[in-house]
């Protein structure tokens, strides 16, 4: 994928910059992963008895796959709203450093804070990675428009995937439905593993996988939250010991 050179007349209007952002979606392998993930989320929502409108609204308004899956699986398995809200709140903390690090890439002295609201909303792991990849090739004063186009393009992909997944889960044979549901844990495990560069992240991923089944035996209603807190804190402890050693 090559964008027009920085001095190209194509960057003269923000509308063209938006269109370039929208088109760049097709040039990213992450878009395929996103499609698979949201296909799975659509199927998961269907099998957990949520409506299609609910599913699409959760994609538009939440715009974070892990959080959507936590809401669907915890509520679907009978957890309280408070437990879901707490687990989502903790899972969403990672959005904070992402927003903090992505906004300086497109800020200019003229940028008002409200210009960046939609960019902050679109910020999630896929957009965050793609911003670092694409933005150096975009003139600074057109970057917000470009990112709006990119975010909107990714949104279109996920909404299509949700709808397709939802109807496939309703109409496919049980085996193929199961295959679509399996997409979600697979895609999340590998994309998280890929993004885990620090030892603490790898340890958190492995311990989190292993500890959840133990906490599920307690059936406390807070299983996901508790196993996450314990596994994450132990992983952080491992990181501290390594730093000191």
């Amino acid at each position: 994928m090559s964008l027009p050179p920085l001095d190209s007349p194509k960057w003269k209007s923000s509308f063209r910059a938006f269109a370039e952002g929208f088109k760049s979606v097709s040039a990213t392998i992450l878009a395929a992963v996103l499609f698979a993930t949201y296909l799975g989320i659509g199927a998961l929502a269907h099998d957990s008895h949520f409506s299609l409108l609910w599913t699409l609204l959760s994609t538009i308004l939440v715009w974070a796959g892990p959080a959507q899956i936590i809401v669907i699986t915890t509520l679907g398995s009978g957890a309280t709203i408070i437990q879901s809200a707490l687990a989502v709140t903790v899972s969403a903390v990672r959005l904070f450093p992402m927003v903090v690090s992505v906004l300086p890439l497109m800020r200019t002295p003229q940028t008002k804070r409200w210009h960046l609201i939609l960019v902050a909303h679109f910020t999630a792991v896929t957009l965050w990675v793609e911003c670092h990849r694409f933005l150096p090739q975009v003139p600074r004063h057109r970057r917000i428009a470009f990112v709006h186009g990119l975010g909107f393009g990714l949104l279109c992909i996920t909404l299509c995937a949700n709808t397709i997944g939802y109807f496939l889960a309703a109409n496919l044979s049980q085996t193929l439905d199961a295959a679509i549901l399996l997409l979600t844990p697979l895609a999340f495990l590998f994309s998280t593993a890929r993004n885990s560069r620090e030892l603490s992240d790898v340890a958190a991923l492995v311990l989190g996988l292993l500890l959840y089944p133990l906490f599920a035996l307690m059936n406390s209603g807070l299983d996901v939250l508790l196993s996450g807190l314990v596994a994450g804190t132990v992983a952080y402890g491992i990181h501290r010991v390594r730093v000191r050693a």
Partner: protein, 114 residues
């Protein structure tokens, strides 16, 4: 049409449990951005807990599978994940290879078991 909308109660829950807990962090990032060091110890701990919660959710889908996934025997669900992980590592961390391999193992196993 009411099938499409579902019940309004569920939409309210979406707002409380899904939308607000997410947007709080994004808007905080927007308002406070700049003064936070990405490598600070607090953020490393927070990221570890967030990763572990996500890992817990992945495990939950496999251990207590929703809907049609429950028709796949437990051993086959775990086996598919492990096979996918091996493919992921062998291909120098290709997400696509991991996902495809996991899916193929699950489908083949299901077919073989009848």
């Amino acid at each position: 049409m009411s099938d499409f909308i579902g019940d309004w109660h569920a939409l309210l829950i979406l707002l409380v449990a899904g939308v607000i807990p997410n947007q709080v962090w994004r808007m905080l990032g927007l308002w406070l951005g700049g003064g936070i060091d990405e490598g600070s110890e607090l953020l490393i701990w927070v990221r570890a807990v967030a990763t572990a919660i996500l890992a817990g959710v992945i495990a939950q889908i496999l251990v207590q599978p929703p809907g049609a996934l429950a028709s796949v025997p437990a051993g086959l669900r775990y086996g598919a994940l492990v096979a996918g992980f091996v493919a992921f590592m062998l291909t120098r961390r290709s997400i696509l290879a991991g996902v495809v391999c996991g899916e193929v193992v699950m489908l083949a196993g299901k077919w073989w078991l009848g």
